[in-house]
Point group: C2
Amino acid sequence: MGGELHESKLVLHTIFRITAALLAALAGGDLAIAGTDISHFALANGLEVVVIPDHRVPVATHMIWYKVGSADETPGKSGLAHFLEHLMFKGTAKNPLDRFSQIVATIGGQENAFTSSDYTGYFQRVPKNELKHMMELEADRMTGLVLTDDVVRPELDVVLEEQNMRVANNPAARLGEQMEAALYLNHPYGRPVIGWRQEIEQLTREDALAFYRRFYTPNNAVVVVTGDVTVDEVRTFAEQTYGQVGPVTEIKSRVRPQEPVQEAARTVTLADARVAQPSVSRYYLVPSSTTAQAGESEALELLAHILGRGSNSRLYRSLVVNDAIAVNAGANYDSTALDATRLSVYATPKPGISLAQLEQALDDVLADVIARGVTAEELDRSKSRMVADAIYANDNPRTMAQWYGAALTTGSTVEQVRAWPERIRAVSADAVRDAARHWLDKRRSVTGYLIKDSQPQEKRS
Amino acid sequence: MGGELHESKLVLHTIFRITAALLAALAGGDLAIAGTDISHFALANGLEVVVIPDHRVPVATHMIWYKVGSADETPGKSGLAHFLEHLMFKGTAKNPLDRFSQIVATIGGQENAFTSSDYTGYFQRVPKNELKHMMELEADRMTGLVLTDDVVRPELDVVLEEQNMRVANNPAARLGEQMEAALYLNHPYGRPVIGWRQEIEQLTREDALAFYRRFYTPNNAVVVVTGDVTVDEVRTFAEQTYGQVGPVTEIKSRVRPQEPVQEAARTVTLADARVAQPSVSRYYLVPSSTTAQAGESEALELLAHILGRGSNSRLYRSLVVNDAIAVNAGANYDSTALDATRLSVYATPKPGISLAQLEQALDDVLADVIARGVTAEELDRSKSRMVADAIYANDNPRTMAQWYGAALTTGSTVEQVRAWPERIRAVSADAVRDAARHWLDKRRSVTGYLIKDSQPQEKRS
């Protein structure tokens, strides 16, 4: 419940989704949470550093975020940002082969990496006395990557197998990909993060190196350190490691092709024999926290929460509890994006219920919120829940690092993240109703139908 | 009847569409048509020249085709190929301002220009003794264009007004744009030739000049001359004019992002108060004559003709004549394209007939041809009609020039155009049925609904 139905905007390896509630603030005056003394500074070479001390456990979480994702790829080279993420583990002159990962394993650390439309990130959780070591290793591979065809070609097979598992063999994921492609008429968010298969197959070592040299540079990265550290030691380590990285490549502003006026409702139907559970879902094109006017993104967060977060939400109560026509229903809003994003609603029918009937019931719920808005009680409950979720989530240093990393690589500031609880609390019921009226507009939407195909699969060319 | 319902793939100014029947051959041994002695040669600088003598009238038709169209634009700069086409009339150092057009008018000539996804062309029809003069003028503006903000800015307003007239105020054209965007998940054919309005608005003099310098070069152009000329004189003139053009820019191969496997049927619904006549239409993604396997494109041409060309076609007979539920119905296949193209079917309901009912009847016609194929009689009739149309069309020197220009700028050869009647005649009924079975696959299709919106238009952001 509350999870995403489709995963076409994959954040890979560790699939974590920056949901509305996650993008919470730290350190509101009334929030008794760890890490209230966030520091944010830049090195001379342009690298941004965020430090969030949390001394409860002698562990440090170290993340480096590059401001590059699949939406920054050259058309025809989809999947390149993600492929490079894989190749970043293939060694440098100083630390060849998989020495980086061996070191992390030897010291009992954890590591991971992820790619989205807007950013690519690398993560280690290690004993605090190994932090500088991690920074050395990341600084080394920021510009020192060595790629040979011997490592690139087998890794391409790994990525293709990943696409196979995550998408090709997953009808819901394939529908999600096709819905994203239909939602974005012009913007590169329409292409999957993992890439279109026929383009992944053609990616080369040269493609990866060119992309790496263009985007992996100190002035295009954000380091986030949380845990049992002090700002001074992080600053010193950062200067001793990342501060030595050169050369600095000039980075152009991230201007992507934008959407034309959307004025025609779309549908996408995917029928597959492997569909065990049919579903209906809809994506609306809406502003992100970066593109929205003041207060608008926060109103959309509350709208999505009231509509579809948890068993108290309108969609769940109406379709699952009252009408008993759905086994699940909900809504999501991806606020964290550099450009226009999506608000999604979805429902999964009980056996014997048609998707048409379910969609009508879903539309009735939306029509009601458009017509009559939300109640003061709903609004207060959702605000409290969202802020509380954020406070609980703050207990996890990694989650903290994720909030800041995602925010700073998608056009938000530390101050905006900090002020998030205040911004949520300031949303009025009228603002939520207005957001519903303006943005739940079918002309800017794609409705997806996932259905079980009882006919034999035709051979496809 | 037989015309295109939607015009999103605009060929601008002169809207001519290279339809199946138009892409006919010359000079089959059994075709008694003018211009059987076609010559095709290249100058030292790479410019291709096609000469088609026709001495019936003392007139020459001169066309220059550049192998660049909207699908070659940089993402975010849609409309640039077409904008540059406009700007090409703004003068050079040698022939400033609109001297070119004044000369054409003074000598009693006609001129025009057009842009498509794959090519941009310029055309003059003049007294034969003015041919060399036209070649001088075109050669001069191939690399000598002078653009100042004084001429660029007002012309941008002209183009925006053109977009306004052709698209923004035309619900059918807007639906066509949105259907193309939904048909192509990845390929740049998904963007309109005229461009997305918000991107046209941002085009600059610098954009136009950069595009011009990149693509307007002798080795990226095809000159086609038809009319009262000899090959020798055209060759001499071409060497004296185009042969002097430098410098020659290196041209990269035209590799565009291709489509992923298409496996989800899509719909697009456009409701507008100004819709006087609702309609249903469907685009199928199919191979072009350039991308098809041997015989496949020809089979699709016959399929489209049998399904939907003229009042004897299956769709027309079934929906308009027999069922009397449509005022019009037909099919089209755009075979001339560098990459995957579309086969479209459409129907316009009689008053009181729902689009759902009409679509069902349309689908029944398609299902029948998929299940049972076409008859020998239908096949013969369509072949005869297509070849005859081509012969009649050959009487028009301009049409001849268009066939060759479009073919040579989309990956076909002179020989392929010449052999077209033989290729059409060789298509079997089985091949047409197989083409229907394989390519009339809804998973690779977009269905569009144009409906009258009786509700007041909401304000759009």
